[in-house]
Every structure is written in C-alpha cells, then in structure tokens.
Assembly symmetry: C2
Homo-oligomer: 339 residues x 2
Amino acid sequence: MKGTVLYGPGDIRFEDRDDPGIQEPTDAILRLAATCVCGSDLWPYRGLQPIDGPTPMGHEYCGVVEEVGSAVKSIKPRQFVVGSFATSDNTCPHCQYGYQSSCIHREFMLRAQAPYLRVPRADGTLVPTPGGTPSRDLVPSLLAASDVLGTGWFAADAANVKPGATVVVVGDGAVGLLGVLSAKQMRAGRIIAMSRHEARQKLAREFGASDIVTERGEEGAARISELTKGIGADSVLECVGTQESMMQAIQSTRPGGYVSYVGVPHGVELDGQKLFFSHVHLHGGPAPVRRFLPMLIDLILNGTINPGKVFDLTLPLDQVAEGYRAMDERRAIKTLLQV
Amino acid sequence: MKGTVLYGPGDIRFEDRDDPGIQEPTDAILRLAATCVCGSDLWPYRGLQPIDGPTPMGHEYCGVVEEVGSAVKSIKPRQFVVGSFATSDNTCPHCQYGYQSSCIHREFMLRAQAPYLRVPRADGTLVPTPGGTPSRDLVPSLLAASDVLGTGWFAADAANVKPGATVVVVGDGAVGLLGVLSAKQMRAGRIIAMSRHEARQKLAREFGASDIVTERGEEGAARISELTKGIGADSVLECVGTQESMMQAIQSTRPGGYVSYVGVPHGVELDGQKLFFSHVHLHGGPAPVRRFLPMLIDLILNGTINPGKVFDLTLPLDQVAEGYRAMDERRAIKTLLQV
C-alpha cells in the first residue's frame, strides 16, 4: 500500500510502505473508510515540533475490521469501528476513572493517513457502530468522533459546562468549533466564539455560538469582560495551545470558573502567582476520547449532531500533501481524505 | 497602642502606632482576643518577598466588636467575631459564587498583630459566634478559622476530597496539618502526610494522617507511587508554594486526579506540556475563608474539631519578634499572640 510520511517542514509524501499486519494477539487491522489531517499534524509540518527522520502520519480513523489477533474478544471482522487517537486497554485504573488517554498501555496512533491501519489493544480502543455499517454520509461525522469531536467534547466537559452557563471558546479550528457544538449539547446559555475568520464564524454560529469576538490576547479578554459585565465567563475552552491563547483563556474566566486546554501546549509557561490570583480551575490533557465514543456515535447515528461539517475540503488520499497545504494556509478548516 | 511592623529581613518591631478608627461607614473596630503569625508572613521576614518600607503585619484575628460605622447593619458592638484575611462584601457575583477572596471589594488585611484592628466591609467580612462570647479555651481554634484552618479546608475542598479517597498533603506547616484535619472531616480513606519533622508528624497523625512520607521532590513522588500501587493519589493538597512542592504534588496525582495549591506560589513556573500530560485538575488561589467560616465555627463550638492545636507556642503580643524567630527556625509550627 501507499501511506503518508512527513520528511521535514512542508514535505509530505505519499509513498510505498509495507501493508500493516497483526503483530500482537491484541491487534486488529482496519480497512479505513476515511482519514483526515489534524490541527496537531501542522506543528511538525510547520517545523515547530522536531521529528526524528521520516515520520508516518495520521491518527484519526474509522473503517471496517479486516482481521483480528488471537486474543481479541469483542471486536470482530466486518464490524465498522471508530477508534481513539490514543490506544487503551479500557480496564486499567486510569481507564476506569475515565482517563483512557492515560491508560497504562497507551500508545499514540500514527500511520492512519493510509488505506490500512494496525490498531493495538483493539478491544479497549475500538467501538463498533451499532446496527452494522453506517451510510456513507455519516462517515465524516464518525471520523470526527475519532479525535476532533471527542477533543472538543472533552474541552467542554473539562471546563465544566453547565446548563445556562456563559462559555467562551478560544480557537476557531475544528476542535474549537466542535467545542462550541459540545457546549451547545450541554445546554450552555451563551457561547462566545473567538474568531476573525468569516467561514469559521459562520460554522460556529451554526453549531450554537451566540456571540463572536474578533479581538485577541489582552484585547480579547477585555472584550469578554465587557460582554460579561466585568465578571468573566463560567467556562472557557482553550483550543489552540499557545501562550497567548492560554493567557487569553485564563483572563477571560471569572474567579472560581473553569478553563480547559486540549491542544498540546507549545512553549506555554504558566506563572504560578498569576494563576493563583486568577482563582480558576484548570484541567486538560490528551482527550480521553474513548470515554465519550459510545455516546458520540449514538448522537451522530440518531442525527442529533453533525460534526462532519468541519470538513470543508475533501480530497482523495493520494492528494494528502495538498490537504496539509490547504490547512496550513487556512484555506481549509479540516481536510477529509477519501480512501 | 503598639503594633507589629516589619522593617526588613528579620527586623520585626513592636512599636507605637495610631489607634485605628472608623474611616468608612462600613468599617468595624475590633478589640482582638488573640492574633498570630502566618507562614506567609515568613516570606517577607526572610527577605524572599520585597517590602516597600516599614510594613504593618498580621491578617489573622478574632475578637470583640468595639465600634461600627453608620452603614454597618448586621454586625453589632460586643459581638465576638471571626473574620477572613481578605475582606469581602459577600454580595458581589464573585462572593455569590463562593469566591469571597476575589470579591470586587477585596482588600487583604494587614495590621492584625496589634490589640485593635479596623475591618473594612464588616457586614460581609465578619461572622459572629452564635451564643455570645465563647470560652477562652476555644479562642485558639476560632483564631485558626480566620486563615490557617479556612485555607487548609479550601485545600481539601479544591482538591475534591471525597469519602474513601486517597489524599496526599504536601507541606507540614500549619496549613498542611489542617489540610489533613479537613480531609479527615471529608472522610478521606487514606491520608498521606509528607513530613520529616517529628512533632509535626505526630500532630498530622492526631489530625487523621494514616501514613507519613519523609522523602521529598522526585523521591517523594516515587514513594507516593509505591504506596498507591503505581496509580497516584486522587487528591493532593499543595501547602508550600515552591517549584519543588508544586511538581511533587502534580507528580503524586493520578491522571484525572486533583491538585490544589493554597499558598502564594513563589518562583513557580509550570511547564504547559508537562502539566498537559499529567492530566490533573488544578485549582487554588487565596482561600475563600468567608465561604467556610459559619460551618467551621460550628464545628469548633460543638467540639468536633480542635484546630487550635497547631499553636505550639503562645507568647504575649509584645514578644511578637520571638514568635517570628521561632517559626523561622522551625522551633514552632505556629505562634499564637495573646493580646
């Protein structure tokens, strides 16, 4: 088969690689229905995160089980499954507490921008869709559940979004937009999306944003203060991962309010004393998508949510390099790759 | 009257000052029953926190109301009252959310190491003891409620201590010890106190600690890992405020667990990426003591708790300088000053 490999900044190649095979008895091999490019893929693509030589890419996936190892019990060939970007046994203490992305057996998935994928710990990582193979039009939304929706949902969950709450979402990438959708599902009273990009503002409104703020940094925080009568927001979802976005999030939150952060922070240093006097709750980390997958799949299958709308560019898999370019240049929110 | 003034590192003087008087119609003047020296007073005393010239000291107090301003409604002369180290109107949105120490009218108290004290926003800051003036033997515990108990309680509350939980307390100062007491009241299953000081270990056990760990830093975190079978603690109370203690706390917590920090951080910088992958909840700040005062006063008056035991040195107020020295040299956990 051919698969996606990053060679260096801006250098994505779709090239020959070995077909994946069962390596451990707990593995499954999937034939993917679709895969996609993640905002986090852009960090190494932009040279902002070092790589150790040529690196296979991709960690978002859904598709049909081709083969399972001898120790796999609940996952069966021909099932349509969605998995998380982090593998999990779903039985260790961390998994039982709902933090499957810190499973003692966690591996971060890689190599999913390809037609076939080996998934370790298949029983603990994959969730079959009830009712067999879903219709093709649901594939984008199910693919979104694999990471970007699960991460947006975790952002809202970790920021303690409650019915009636005033919520701010910092970041208008796919995760931020799905943070808006998630906060809406949790019945937030007011959802303020921070975005200066028209297409993204439109989608934010469609997903449930009540207000759009175009200012950033200190000015952004000042605007939130104005909108909340000087009090600050109850819940702020930080969906970028830079020092500016993190400080903007903390400064936008009322004392006793909640800040979540779900993108790997790059170059972020928090001053202990500033954080202390901000009086906020802070929680984040790699989203435990596995915790939310069964519920998210249900919400998609029954038509309650349509997170697949974040894919505003669809390309055949062999044009993956253009998919990266379009996202890097902010011509696309998120690129779906058809296998 | 005479009062306590810090002139520079190690230079505490008890010297003539003006008697406090009503300045605002919302003020009250108290004749203190007792006051004390706080661990946080040691930062400037040790020269680790700069001061702008001679600085009046003290922010923990209880005593009898002598006089109230014309706008004070609920607080009356002759009541025995306990107040927080942070003033509050107890009506603004932050107060209503339970974060009175971020009240829009907050002032940090100073000048309490003296016989008389002016308290701003008396109605929102002070809590009278039910049943009139309490017996003398309860004064140390009521004084503790003013800050050190309220702060220890907030540490346990912010670390989400639940019945049956495994709790770690980092720091064996008075706040840490009362964090142990608070976790016990919240019915923690196991309370691990980190201390290498015999008298403090003894008091920690008396307050409810089930285990004592003497190692610190990375070794301390490794010992907690061992004691929790590699999982980490559910709730960790950081009651010191240094980089080492903060990292020790974070490293001792399981993914999804809770870290609280209640001492003003000094020189603490949190690396965003390390915090992200630790997967912990983090909450802290100046303790909203006012939120807990009515309940804490009840627990003291009905004999359920005896937090006054943290005072292992009692001196007349005019020997305040020796009170600081004894705490600085760790000869005393906490010094009570009799007025």
